[in-house]
């Protein structure tokens, strides 16, 4: 069964061409399109405006430290159109909560971002803002998540650096054991987040390779359903039913070669990112700190994609149905799952709804490795979800299998 399926697949050159050319083309075109965005980031073209209402020694030191991070172009109190805004409120240097709640700025940012579709101008934060905290970070909703992560990371780093330096100078907290303990704990958290999982600027290929490779892997439904439906239409399955062979064996035999193709698709895209991308002027694909983690992720994503194909092939009565419903479902799942539209620009309910898309979990797992430098342990929950998806799709495929 396997030999036959491999032979059939290898000889179906048009389908193979589609399966490998599509992701290459998508990745190439989108990476080249994003090349300039990347260039802007490298040259610190993301603007961060800082309004300092505190004007203390500490706040000035904080701004200087922030400038040294070189993560963005810092504008102090200018009137340029901003992409991100940091407001240092009065009392920045005196608030004890600053010492123990440096992470509060994350919360405040979320509060601002969730205040509706407000523009940057509408979200101007003044000294009298109702928001708590002494340091407020606001980003334009259109600013990509990765850049916001980057700014937040820089703010954390600068803040910690200032606090530590300041406290070492004054030794004000050394006698208060509870404050010392809280600070130590907060710093550990911040340092762990800041250095343990580097928030690097993703290259265009780090964004496009996983996204479009996943998208293309799910397009395996077209040749897979074509193959199964053709066998049904030509009475081959009917003939096979007069042989001592089970439907599960037929489905597994069908699944395996296409599963291999999905794996090859992904690793071909990796090779493309490594070798062809730089030739075309796109920065080389960086695989993160745990590149081997890509293997289990790809095994799970490929299994989910082929199981989905098996389900579509068995549910569809004709090839026309499969080739209309299948790609439509993949495109919808891709949109929901953040392949085409970044998750963060979606409203809350859509961000929750995204989790019903297997493509969301696939992309999250790859991003965890590429961008957040996650290890196998970090991606395991996501892989578990993908395996559950695979099992559901496969079971539906088995149950709905028809010999004729």
């Amino acid at each position: 069964m396997l030999i036959k399926e491999f032979k059939l697949l290898i000889r179906d050159r048009q389908s193979l061409l589609l399966l490998f050319l599509m992701p290459v083309s998508l990745i190439l075109v989108i990476s080249l399109a994003l090349k300039d965005v990347h260039g802007k980031m490298v040259s610190n073209r993301v603007k961060l405006e800082i309004v300092d209402h505190d004007e203390s020694l500490l706040s000035k030191k904080f701004i200087e430290t922030l400038k040294k991070t070189n993560s963005c172009r810092i504008v102090e109190g200018g009137d340029e159109r901003k992409q991100a805004l940091v407001t240092i409120k009065k009392g920045f240097a005196n608030t004890s909560s600053l010492l123990i709640q440096p992470l509060a700025l994350d919360l405040e940012e979320d509060v601002m971002l969730n205040s509706g579709n407000a523009t940057m101008d509408e979200m101007e934060v003044s000294e009298n803002s109702e928001l708590d905290g002494v340091l407020v970070f606001v980003a334009e909703p259109s600013l990509e998540q990765v850049y916001r992560h980057l700014i937040r990371h820089s703010l954390n780093t600068a803040l910690i650096s200032c606090i530590v330096e300041n406290e070492l100078e004054t030794e004000a907290f050394s006698s208060d054991s509870s404050v010392q303990s809280d600070l130590t704990s907060s710093l550990e958290t911040v340092i762990k987040e800041g250095s343990g999982k580097r928030q690097a600027i993703p290259t265009p290929l780090q964004q496009t390779v996983p996204a479009w490779a996943i998208f293309s892997m799910f397009f395996i439904i077209i040749p897979l359903s074509n193959s199964l439906i053709t066998e049904r239409k030509n009475s081959l399955l009917q003939r096979l039913r007069t042989y001592p062979i089970s439907s599960v064996r037929i489905i597994l035999g069908k699944l395996m070669p296409y599963y291999c193709v999905t794996l090859m698709q992904f690793f071909l895209m990796i090779l493309f990112g490594f070798f062809i991308g730089p030739i075309l002027g796109v920065p080389k694909l960086e695989l993160g700190a745990h590149p081997l983690t890509l293997l289990p992720i790809t095994l799970c994503v490929g299994l989910t994609a082929t199981s989905f194909g098996i389900m579509i092939a068995n549910l569809a009565k004709t090839f026309e149905q499969a080739s209309a419903v299948g790609p439509f479902a993949v495109v919808i799942m891709a949109m929901m799952g953040g392949i085409m539209i970044p998750i963060f620009v979606m409203p809350d309910f859509m961000q929750t709804l995204a989790q019903v898309s297997p493509l969301y979990w696939s992309l999250e797992a790859y991003h965890c490795v590429f961008i957040s430098e996650g290890s196998l342990i970090d991606v395991l929950p996501g892989l578990g979800v993908l395996l559950i998806f695979s099992m559901i799709f496969f079971m539906i495929g088995i149950v709905s299998f028809r010999w004729e």
Partner: protein, 311 residues
């Protein structure tokens, strides 16, 4: 021992009002070359699918060589060639046979010799390693048959095996079937080609509306009434003349249509003897008269009617 015995088979497709098989009865002797005829929708393919364990009857049962039909029995005893060409187009003839051989217990090694022999028999040895997609319709049909014969089944079930086949391929297929039958194999053969069935099948069953209308040897099916007499007159045939004629020719089947008369009988002379005085009495002039030997097609149309079966 019967090769196939169907008793009271009843089946309705899910969601369909019409009954596909109604208490169908059919018995095929071991070693028989059984033809099954019927118009479209008669239930031939449903019956064949049931014989291959592809469908389970709602009522009744079917046995192959005294064993109730199940997948295991079918896979051992039956060679099935569906109406469609059930082959892999991207594989060669040899690879197709290899694939189907692999699925059988014993694998390729057990069937290696048979594969070569079958390709020789169906005339595809020279193109054994050519892809099926490059084959003509006739070549594909021959390979379709070869696959069904691969494991030397005891019963060969063929659903319209000659569809779209050129005379050369047809001859080769017929020769293969004769060889198989000559070696003691039983064949169940459905076809629309009445002349062909008449020529090659020893026993024939005519089905319609899910029932077996008649079954037996060709002679048994044709009955004694071997003559079909056609007469045409200058005027419309009156009902009274028809009534008188029917009373005088008790054993004949008489049908009239305006000015023409069809009489099926085993005594052609008696018709003229009775008809001529009657036509004179009713002031009709006989314009044409012909005496034709009845064919299976005549009998088929007589049993199943002349209305079209497009549904």
């Amino acid at each position: 021992m019967k090769a196939l015995e169907a008793i009271g088979l009843t089946y309705s497709y899910p969601g369909q009002k019409d009954i596909a098989l109604k208490e169908l009865e059919l018995s095929v002797a071991q070693g028989a070359f059984q033809g099954i005829l019927g118009p479209n929708g008669a239930g031939k393919t449903t019956f064949i699918r049931m014989a291959c364990s592809l469908l389970q009857p709602n009522k009744g049962h079917i046995q192959l060589f005294d064993k109730d039909v199940c997948r295991n029995v079918v896979s051992q005893l039956v060679g099935y060639a569906p109406q469609e060409i059930a082959l892999y187009n991207h594989l060669s003839a040899w690879e197709n046979l290899q694939f189907f051989a692999r699925l059988r217990p014993g694998g390729i090694s057990q069937f290696q010799e048979n594969m070569s022999l079958l390709l020789e028999k169906v005339g595809l040895s020279d193109v054994a390693h050519k892809r099926v997609s490059a084959f003509s319709g006739g070549m594909k049909r021959r390979l379709n048959l070869a696959v069904a014969l691969l494991h030397s089944p005891r019963l060969l079930i063929l659903d319209e095996p000659m569809t779209g086949v050129d005379p050369q391929s047809r001859n080769r297929i017929l020769q293969c079937l004769k060889d198989f039958h000559g070696n003691g194999g039983t064949i169940l053969y459905t076809s629309h080609y009445l002349h062909e069935v008449e020529k090659i099948c020893e026993t024939i069953a005519i089905m319609d509306h899910g029932k077996t209308l008649v079954s037996g040897t060709l002679a048994e099916i044709m009955g004694k009434k071997k003559h079909q007499l056609n007469c045409s007159f200058d005027k419309r045939i009156e009902d009274n003349l028809l009534k008188d004629l029917k009373s005088r020719l008790n054993h004949a089947t008489i049908k009239s249509n305006e000015k023409s008369l069809t009489v099926i009988t085993d005594e052609p002379d008696s018709l003229l003897k009775e008809l001529l005085p009657l036509s004179h009495q009713y002031q009709l002039t006989l314009l044409n008269y012909s005496d034709n030997a009845r064919t299976l097609e005549d009998r088929f149309l007589e049993l199943t009617g002349h209305s079209l079966r497009d549904g």
